[in-house]
């Protein structure tokens, strides 16, 4: 979360000569990150990113504490000016002005004090200016005081019009499902149940605790008596309510991270001071404080060698102690053991040894730690790693002018395929399912280039997500591609060349299927497994897809073949094939005629005339003309018998 801190305000609690830029650098390198410093005429504003664990840094005072520790590590003197209060009120479990019954699992510390005789007015200029600089609109002295305390201490504070709390009674309890409350912003909420609410003596809900106050007990122009209200809430309840009502406030953002109950004493005293100074009100002598289980002290023990080993360097013992005390920890050495007492505002955050080392190291300065690449044994490499193969296939396709795309795996329902997994919270209809095929995505990719007249080939390698009952989906790595403005033979040739380069024997089996033009689709097969498909889409592009794992399995190791000692006899044969002949079958028939036919390549096709180039090859000798003539004769006979082919 980002907060804005005013430099002037910060210097109320930070004594240093450091310039604002130096403060920003020191904080960024050793504490919360300052993203930006905005300079004003008489002030500077820090925009600071506070991580979820550092709720103690949500206010000016917490940032002052961090800066006072961080600056000395960056060679500038600094110290924290502790916040002092004039308030001498005492804390008690019961008070006369308010009967409170509190569910302390929801509210571990409940404090309130009545301030009588408040005069509603505008805030003094210094206060409204400070608030407005950090983005809070000044409303009146009462509301401004509560915002001021929140900005200063990071402790949200609420104020009730005391006279609107009927019978002077409060019951803090979990809400029942369906109860309603209208909050200060005039929004009516129907509660999901389990929200922290406060009802008054007449059973009316007057506060949606930790989120926003209710209208029934709101401060208005006529308010005379104010109940100043400072609490710690169970962060989980606050978070659940804020999320389910989609109603967040700065208070709920802080409360849901778990605030320090000890901070309440300081916050309420600060409130009393401000009320008495700025509103003319007078606080009661006793502060109601229901706080049955204050958190116990926490001490963490560390060993000097552990610290050195973890950081990879040796830090002087006294520097370790100094870093910790500057942040409010108590640290004591006994020989090599360090005992660290965690301050109340860090109890949630600092729980283990590593947390303490972080405090030491960041104040010592990360920039002073060495950099050493680890030694030691290596992990076994993966057996059968897919990555090299995937890169190879991509590179082969690139060599054939393929252009790789990465498309979104989230698609529309009609693109997703049967039974595809659906998202519970998609960004939109067109990306609400996990794809089970790359086809729709590639068709869309081709469509994005509709104006292109030249041939192009897009391909993608990505997982498809195939649902499995009661389990995560199977993630299958697929290679898919689409050819646009490309002939069937050119496209198919690329798949054939890919297979040849990988040394995979691919079978092409015609079989019709949805999305493809009739008779123009082939199943791709390798050693009795179907590993994909290829064909002409109804929309005119050519699409193919291959299962990468099966393709990899199909790879045959390259074998040495003896180089023939004698040249082959090469001849062209032109055949007239009847209509509806399958030339693939013809080639297969030619090859099957004799083992002496080493190669058959289809050359030109002119109308119904197909020219084939045949290689006749005997392993030991050059074939004589009469020998090749004999083979040719057999071929022509078979082709005539089986296909009705006639030699031209």
């Amino acid at each position: 979360m980002n907060i804005t801190i005013s430099d002037n305000w910060l210097r109320d609690y930070l004594k240093t000569k450091a310039a604002s830029s130096k403060i920003a650098d020191a904080l960024s390198l050793s504490g919360p990150s300052v993203e930006k410093v905005t300079r004003l005429k008489d002030d500077s504003l820090y925009s600071i990113e506070v991580t979820t664990n550092r709720v103690d840094c949500m206010g000016v005072y917490g940032i002052a504490r961090e800066a006072s520790a961080a600056l000395p590590a960056h060679t500038v003197k600094a110290s924290l000016v502790p916040l002092k209060s004039k308030s001498r009120q005492t804390f008690a479990k019961t008070v006369r002005y308010l009967k409170a019954e509190v569910d302390t699992t929801l509210c571990p510390r409940f404090a309130a004090v009545l301030i009588k005789g408040v005069k509603m007015a505008a805030s003094p200029e210094w206060m409204s200016q400070r608030l407005e600089r950090v983005g809070v609109r000044s409303i009146n002295n009462v509301v401004d005081i509560s915002n001021y305390i929140m900005k200063e201490l990071g402790q949200p504070v609420h104020t009730f019009d005391y006279d609107k709390i009927l019978k002077g009674k409060m019951l803090l309890r979990p809400s029942r499902k369906g109860e309603t409350i209208t909050t200060l912003d005039e929004k009516k909420h129907t509660l999901p149940g389990g929200d922290i609410v406060i009802e008054d003596g007449k059973g009316r809900l007057i506060d949606l605790a930790g989120i926003m106050g209710g209208t029934l007990s709101a401060i208005d122009d006529k308010t005379k008596n104010v109940l100043l209200f400072v609490q710690t809430y169970n962060p989980l309840n606050i978070r659940r309510t804020a999320m389910s009502l989609a109603h967040r406030s700065e208070a709920s953002d802080i409360f849901e991270k778990g605030t320090d109950p000890e901070l309440i004493s300081l916050a309420i005293r600060r409130g009393i001071d401000l009320f008495e100074t700025l509103t003319g009100g007078k606080a009661e002598e006793t502060i109601l404080d229901i706080y049955p289980n204050p958190p116990g002290a926490k001490t963490i023990a560390l060993d000097f060698d552990f610290i050195s080993g973890f950081l990879g360097t040796v830090l002087p013992k006294h520097q370790i102690g100094k870093a910790l005390t500057s942040l409010g920890f108590e640290a004591g050495w006994r020989g090599k053991s360090l005992s660290v007492k965690v301050p109340s505002w860090r109890l949630k955050d600092v729980q283990i040894k590593e947390d303490v080392i972080e405090e030491i190291a960041r104040i010592w300065g990360y920039q002073r730690l060495p950099g050493i690449i680890m030694q030691g044994a290596l992990t076994e490499p993966l057996v059968d790693s897919p990555f090299g193969f995937e890169a190879k296939v991509k590179n082969i396709l690139k060599g054939y002018a393929g252009i790789e795309v990465y498309s979104l795996s989230l698609v529309a329902k009609h693109e997703a395929g049967q039974g595809a997994l659906q998202l519970a919270n998609p960004l939109g209809e067109d990306s609400s399912f996990l794809r089970t095929s790359l086809l729709p995505s590639l068709a869309r990719a081709a469509g994005e280039n509709a104006g292109v007249k030249e041939a192009f080939h897009l391909f993608e390698m990505a997982n498809v997500y195939l649902p499995r009952k009661g389990d995560l989906p199977q993630e299958k790595m697929m290679l898919a591609g689409i050819f646009v403005n490309t002939g069937f033979r050119q496209a198919k040739g690329i798949i054939e060349a890919l297979a040849e380069e990988l040394n995979v024997t691919l079978g092409f089996i015609p079989e019709d299927s949805q999305y493809f033009q009739p008779s123009q689709r082939l199943l791709l097969k390798c050693s009795n497994k179907f590993l994909g498909q290829f064909g002409m889409l109804e929309t005119g592009e050519i699409y193919y897809e291959l299962d990468m794992a099966l393709l990899k399995l199909g790879i045959q190791p390259r074998q040495y073949k003896k180089i023939p000692s004698h040249p082959a006899q090469i001849e062209d044969i032109t055949l007239i094939l009847p209509a509806k002949s399958r030339v693939g079958d013809v080639i297969f028939a030619i090859k099957s005629t004799s083992p002496l036919i080493s190669e058959v390549v289809l050359g030109t096709i002119y109308n119904d005339a197909y020219t084939f180039r045949l290689n006749y090859q005997h392993p030991q000798k050059t074939l004589t003309d009469s020998e090749t003539e004999k083979i040719r004769g057999t071929i022509l006979k078979i082709l005539k018998r089986d296909f009705g082919a006639i030699a031209k």
Partner: protein, 341 residues
Amino acid sequence: MQEEVINLKNEALAQIMEVSSFEELETIRVTYLGRSGKFTSLIKRIREVSPEKRKQAGLLVNEAKNTIVKALASQKNHLKESARAWFDPTVPGIKPAMGHLHLVTQAIEEISALFTQLGFVRNRYPEVEWDWYAFETLNMPEGHPARDEWETFFVDAPANPKFGQMVLTPHTSSAQVREMQRVKSPPVRMINIAKCYRRQIDASHVPMFHQFEGLVIDKGISVANLKGTLDYFARNFFGPERKTRLRPFHFQFTEPSFEVDVTCGVCLGRGCKLCKNGWLELGGAGMVHPRVLAAGGINPEKYSGYAFGWGVERTYMMKSGLQIPDIRLIYGSDLRFLKQF
């Protein structure tokens, strides 16, 4: 025969010196070196020479031939422009059709190669993952506000009694516990480069993107080891003069956690218009939280580890200084974009 060869050579050389056009040179070449040229017929006659002198004769003929070839070439270059055969070497070549690997593939290959050299093993883990691996075992129990940072997509499928809801993995860190369970006992040196999904879309965010995640676990792994690895990466990926620095940050699954910056490539850390303060933000890192080690079945008292996980696209753009104004272009299919890489 020797004499005959020398005479023939001298005769040819004399003629070559006197020509004034390319055509004449060509006539001479044919006369002496052509298929039925004078030298060719001379070579045929080498058989007639007595065996003991044959080798020498062969050498002599070859030497003479080479001299003539050189003389022809040299004379061609001495001819005046007008006398030469016209050839235009500025004509553009005919290129083969060129393919393109996607920017992300190129980045992944580079990153992967770099970490492989340090003994990191790359593997693949589920992209659709259980909440258990994406959050729970990473020290982010149900309801933890830190989860908000991830903008997670949930799958509309029944939750698993142990592993919780099905999510699209919002970061490569969900591989950490998976890898610990695979390896069982350290050393672990994992590099996971994978698709991630988050519910966000604007000029600098896309719902699908890539991260690379390093995880090292062994006895005595220290913050210094993390720094050493980051510096190694910066030097080799960005350039030998580049350095990294750590800043405090918070992640639930590392303790301590860091934000990693690299010195700006333009000013090398001094500060310039481009980078403002000399440093550019790379991404997150940290020492693996003991609870995460324990969740992966590794004893945190015995072992320690570090992890880092950054965006592939962002890191690669920082390297090459590519200024792509809208990251959505990367995941579109416009040929005019794809063909640039």
